[in-house]
Structures are given as structure tokens and as C-alpha cells.
């Protein structure tokens, strides 16, 4: 299983646009991606659940990935978040 911590850097946090871009990123790989924040697990393929979590700039979260392409998926998601999610 892939697991790595990353800090949100985009000032607006997970609002609709970055959240849907992230879900798009997750969809490219054969892996189940989960965002872990304060012990709570948020499905990485759910725009609604990610937005509802209201994760803000400066927060550290953990990205987990399991499946055939877990390493690629996890890496892509972590890099995407670290790069500011297009904001």
C-alpha cells in the first residue's frame, strides 16, 4: 500500500475546481485512493466527500492508495496536491 503525507498549499483549499481535478487524477489509475485526515477516511473518487471535508490550506493530510497501480496513483495525487492543484 502507498502512504505519504502532504500539506495543502493552495490558498482556497479543496473547493469545487481543485476537488474535481483531483478526482479526475484519481480516475486515471487502477487503484483505490483514500485521503486520511485526523483519522477520518475520505474516498478519493468522491468530489462531494472531499468538498464536504472542508480541508483548508496549511493542513497536513495522508494519501493512501491500494491496487494494481497504487504507487503511480499515490505519487500522482501527492504531487498534484503539493503543486497547488492548479490554483
Amino acid at each position: 500500500m502507498f502512504s505519504e503525507k502532504v500539506t495543502l498549499v493552495n490558498p482556497q483549499g479543496f473547493h469545487m475546481r481543485p476537488a474535481s481535478l483531483l478526482v479526475g487524477e484519481v480516475g486515471k489509475y487502477d487503484a483505490t485512493v483514500t485521503i486520511v485526515r485526523n483519522g477520518a477516511e475520505i474516498p478519493g473518487n468522491s468530489l462531494m466527500a472531499i468538498m464536504a471535508a472542508g480541508i483548508k490550506c496549511g493542513e497536513e493530510i495522508e494519501i493512501r492508495a491500494e491496487g494494481a497501480q497504487e504507487a503511480e496513483a499515490g505519487r500522482a495525487v501527492v504531487d498534484f496536491i503539493a503543486a497547488g492543484m492548479g490554483d
Binding site: Q12, H15, M16, L47, M48, A49, M51, A53, G54, K56
Partner: protein, 568 residues
């Protein structure tokens, strides 16, 4: 057969009736046995909703714009979330019906969005609820009528024309609108006039008295609806329609002209707007400025208090469209008659005499500070003036001026640009303000008479109440004396006096305003040219002679008759 209603938007419409009813999305909760079939029913509803919404977005992109279409695309993105659907299916598998599962999960997400404390996400809660309503309509097979696909020559018959319904209307497809409720100043009327669609309002039960396919003539100038017209009636209506269109075309001649009386007195002719983008239409119609920009939309269209930046952007946008023409922005005018959850306004027995407008703003300095700071920042981008609504005493105005001064000092320290000479004026709409106009004029930079509320408050008559509407007329001597007093007091003090109610555009009343010395007329964008024409038809002497005669009359009926007889 004929119906008579309120003539709310001029012009003649000829066509066939389409009754548009907002669907009632009620259902009875049930438990399901065949959970697989129920999940499939939900899946089908969601697919239909996505297909329908995508089509709507395509129409919207053509007829309104990319930005509006994006909102609908966002709804599709939300409902396409596999996890959300999965949660609904889980509930269905536990025996819940699809409707309940949908409502429960959507409400849960909407509540979570609202709890995030993040401005952008909180606003999305409204979208989640829109999605819920849309899918529920599919489940119940009660899709709202799509105004965008109405055939040419449609006469829309509906209970009330709401802004959301109007969004889909293609200009040209709808010949006329008939509603069951609403007066001259209702949303329905304002929207119909803005789109130049003839409208007759307030015909009780018309949704049931007319049926799809009925042939009707709608005369938005007289308020008469003729059902199943004879060939002669149709012929006459076609002629009247052509004449009306020609008259409208005639007004085009007044584009680019100054607004002057026949004897050469120049006045200013402004327009009223409700959104920044409306300023563009007002400028197209040759308005010389904006005499009333209502800011309520910022607060109504939001699920949380609009931030200083959001307000600043809206005011700045309007200022840039107006270039350096005057832009009078009215600060928040809201009270217990409007349900805006986040504002903490309680229901009141008598909201129009209660905690509203400037009273609310002065009590909630946090709210007012945000708006006044946004206005000051935007004042660096145009000729913005601040107008204070519902003023009843001098203290309210001095309090606002003190606040503005304090925020200017904040900006001096922050190094933010603003117009240090920004004008602050009073919207004169209460009898109290009219009576102390001379005192207010010493403190105010300008007046703008809000005739709609001034008439209502002076006559103590709600224009929406059928039983007392007969009292609601600007022709009442009490109202006319009030208006004359305000204009004289303002002129004596050397400040600009304008008028921003419906009466400013009434050609019958225009000679009175000329005689009283009104300096600025602010009318709906579609009335700008007609008002310029109305002003051009009178010399000051002629207007004064008529006013002298009219102001001696004792009743509203006598005044009305005299003005009608003299009307040009």
C-alpha cells in the same frame, strides 16, 4: 371572453397559451421490497437528470452565457459522484425508497458544505439542493417546464414569473406573459419590462381559466386579455402591435440626445438596476447614469454574508461599465419580509415598519462596515455615490457619515485608494423624511425620492393588498405635496434632487416633476427613451400652469383626470 388584469409591461402579444406550473414535488415515503429495482429507478432518474441538465446548459450557453451554463455543468459533476450515489443505494438496500434516500444524502452533503466555514464550499450547498430538486422531479416525473424550448408565439400563463423561470426564456419566442399575482413593481413586472415582453398581471385563477392552446390577445398597455378573438379583433390587434413596435422604433430617435424640456431646461436621466451587468443594458438605452443600484441581490443570491471582496468586485464591475457617469448605489435595504437565514432577521408582525434597511445596518455595524468599505474601495473606479434607504431622522444620516469617515481613516492607514469626496445622500421614501427634508438637506449631498414606498407609507396602503390598493396612487394630494416639499427643500439647499420610483417614468406625471423642479429622473432601462421624449414635450411654463391647477384639486381622482386630460 375577456379578462382584465394589471397592465405591467406595454405592448401587444398574440399567440397560443402555454400554462407553466411550477411542479409540486411532494411524495409519500414508503419502504421497498424490491431494492434492486428501486436502486435502478434512482439510477435512471439520475441519468435522465444529467441528460436534461446538459441540454439545458447548452441552451443557456447560447442564450445567456458561458458563466450561467457553468453552474448547470457543476450540477452534473456533483450528481456524477459515484460515492454519493453509492451512499444513496446503501439506504435503498436498507429498504428506503429512492426519494427519501436522495433527499437524505443530498441534505447531508448540503449541511456538511455549510459547516465547512469555507466561503466557496458553503455557496455550493445551494447547488446540492438544486441537484436534489432536479433529481426528485425526475423520480416523480414532474420535470419543470423548460422556458427555453417554448415554441414561437407562446403566451406564458403562470402563477408568478420567477427569476429562475425567466432565465430560460428566449427573447422572441414568448409573445406575452399573464400571471395570477403581482403588481406593477413585482418581480414579474420588472422582468417582463426588462425583456420587453408584454405582460398582464394579477388575474385571479388564470392558470385554470385558460388552457394550453387557447388563442389569446394580450394587451400589456391596457391590461386586457381577449380569449378566442374574432378575425376582426385579431386584425385590430395586429395593427396595434405594429403601431406599438413603430412607436418603440420612433424612440430610437432620442438616442444620443440631451434630456431637455421644450423650453431648454436640462435634466439628468438615469436608470435603475438590480445587478452590475444590468448597467450595460442601461448604457445601451442611453441612460446618463445609474440613479438606483439595488444591492440586495448580493445578499439574496448567497447562503452566507457576501465578503468585502465579493461586494467590491460587484460595485467595481458596475462602476467600470458606467465609465465616469454617476452611479448611485443604495446600501442594503432588507428586513423581516425576506427570509435570509444567515442574516439572523426574525419574522416580524409588521416588517415594513420594523427592523430593516438602515435600522438593521446601524445595529449590525459588522455587516454595514463590510458594505461601506467595499463601496469606498470601488469608488476609486468611478463616480460612485452612496444612498441610504429608509431614513426617518437626521441622526441616521450623521451616523452613516461618521462610519464612512472612520473607514476612510482605516484605508488611509492601509494605503487603500478611495474617493475622499464621495457623495452620501438620502433615499426619501418615508413621510418623516419628506417632512424634515429641509433639515436632511443640510446634511445630505443629494436626495432621491423613492415614490413607490413614499406613496405606500404616506397613504398607509400596501400596493399588494387588493382591498386597499385604490388608495395607493401617487396622484393623491398628500403624496404630491410631499414630493413637492422634498424637491423645493433640496433645491433651496442647492443639492441634487432625483426620483427613482415608477412615477419618474409616468408621462402623465412628468409635467408635475418639471414644474416642481426635479433635477434627475431614474427609470427602468426600457423607459429611458420614452421618458426623455415625455420631458421634451413640455415647456417649463406649460408644466407650471398645469401644476398650479392640479395642486388645487382635492382628490386623487380629480388629479388623475386632470393629468390624463392634459397628457401628451
Amino acid at each position: 371572453m375577456e379578462f382584465k388584469g394589471t397592465a405591467a409591461s406595454a405592448g401587444i402579444g398574440i399567440g397560443s397559451v402555454v400554462v407553466v406550473e411550477e411542479p409540486v414535488l411532494e411524495y409519500v415515503s414508503s419502504t421497498v421490497e424490491d431494492t434492486a429495482a428501486e436502486a435502478e429507478r434512482l439510477g435512471a432518474a439520475i441519468e435522465n437528470y444529467i441528460e436534461y441538465t446538459n441540454e439545458q446548459a447548452a441552451v443557456m450557453r447560447e442564450s445567456v452565457g458561458e458563466k450561467e451554463a457553468e453552474i448547470l455543468i457543476g450540477h452534473v459533476v456533483m450528481i456524477s459522484d459515484p460515492y454519493m450515489k453509492g451512499e444513496m443505494v446503501k439506504l435503498i438496500e436498507g429498504g428506503m425508497c429512492a426519494e427519501d434516500a436522495l433527499v437524505q444524502i443530498c441534505d447531508m452533503f448540503a449541511t456538511m458544505f455549510e459547516a465547512t466555514g469555507d466561503e466557496l464550499t458553503m455557496q455550493r450547498a445551494t447547488d446540492v439542493r438544486d441537484v436534489k430538486t432536479g433529481v426528485l422531479a425526475e423520480l416523480l416525473n414532474k420535470r419543470p417546464v423548460d422556458m427555453g424550448t417554448l415554441p414561437l408565439g407562446s403566451i406564458v400563463v403562470t402563477h408568478d414569473l420567477t427569476p429562475s423561470m425567466t432565465a430560460g426564456i428566449r427573447p422572441g419566442a414568448v409573445e406575452a406573459v399573464i400571471t395570477e399575482t403581482g403588481g406593477l413593481t413585482s418581480h414579474s413586472a420588472i422582468l417582463a419590462r426588462a425583456m420587453e415582453i408584454p405582460a398582464v398581471l394579477s388575474i385571479a385563477g388564470v392558470c385554470h381559466r385558460l388552457a394550453d392552446g387557447d388563442q389569446v390577445i394580450v394587451d400589456g398597455s391596457t391590461g386586457v386579455v381577449t380569449v378566442d378573438p374574432t378575425e376582426e379583433q385579431l386584425e385590430a390587434a395586429r395593427e396595434a402591435q405594429a403601431a406599438f413596435i413603430a412607436e418603440r422604433a420612433e424612440l430610437v430617435k432620442f438616442i444620443g440626445c440631451r434630456s431637455v424640456t421644450a423650453s431648454g431646461e436640462q435634466v439628468e436621466l438615469f436608470a435603475n438596476i438590480g445587478k452590475p451587468e444590468d448597467a450595460a443594458q442601461a448604457m445601451e438605452r442611453d441612460a446618463e447614469g445609474i440613479g438606483l443600484f439595488r444591492t440586495e441581490f448580493l445578499f439574496m443570491d448567497s447562503t452566507s454574508m457576501p465578503t468585502e471582496d465579493q461586494q467590491f468586485e460587484a460595485y467595481k464591475k458596475a462602476a467600470l461599465i458606467c465609465k465616469n457617469k454617476p452611479l448611485i448605489i443604495r446600501t442594503l435595504d432588507i428586513g423581516g419580509d425576506k427570509e435570509i437565514e444567515y442574516m439572523g432577521l426574525e419574522r416580524e408582525d409588521n416588517p415594513f415598519m420594523g427592523f430593516r434597511a438602515i435600522r438593521y445596518c446601524l445595529a449590525r455595524e459588522d455587516v454595514y462596515r463590510t458594505q461601506l468599505r467595499a463601496l469606498l474601495r470601488a469608488s476609486a473606479f468611478g463616480e460612485i455615490r452612496i444612498m441610504v434607504p429608509l431614513v426617518t431622522c437626521v441622526d441616521e444620516l450623521t451616523a452613516v457619515k461618521a462610519l464612512v469617515k472612520r473607514y476612510m481613516q482605516e484605508f488611509d492607514q492601509e494605503g487603500v485608494a478611495y474617493n475622499p469626496d464621495i457623495q452620501i445622500g438620502v433615499m426619501v421614501e418615508t413621510p418623516a423624511a419628506a417632512v424634515i427634508a429641509d433639515l436632511l438637506a443640510e446634511e445630505a449631498d443629494f436626495f432621491s425620492i423613492g415614490t413607490n414606498d413614499l406613496t405606500g407609507y404616506t397613504m398607509c396602503a400596501d400596493r399588494g393588498n387588493d382591498k386597499v390598493r385604490y388608495l395607493y396612487s401617487t396622484c393623491n394630494p398628500a403624496v404630491l405635496r410631499s414630493i413637492r416639499n422634498v424637491i423645493s427643500a433640496g433645491n433651496a439647499a442647492g443639492i441634487q434632487v432625483g426620483m427613482c420610483g415608477e412615477s419618474a417614468a409616468d408621462p402623465m406625471l412628468v409635467p408635475l416633476w418639471i414644474a416642481f423642479g426635479l433635477g434627475e429622473y431614474s427609470v427602468s432601462a426600457t423607459s429611458v427613451l420614452a421618458t426623455r421624449k415625455a420631458i421634451s414635450l413640455w415647456t417649463k411654463d406649460e408644466a407650471c400652469a398645469l401644476a398650479e391647477k392640479v395642486m388645487q384639486l382635492k382628490t386623487a381622482t380629480e388629479v388623475y383626470d386632470a393629468l390624463q386630460e392634459a397628457a401628451r
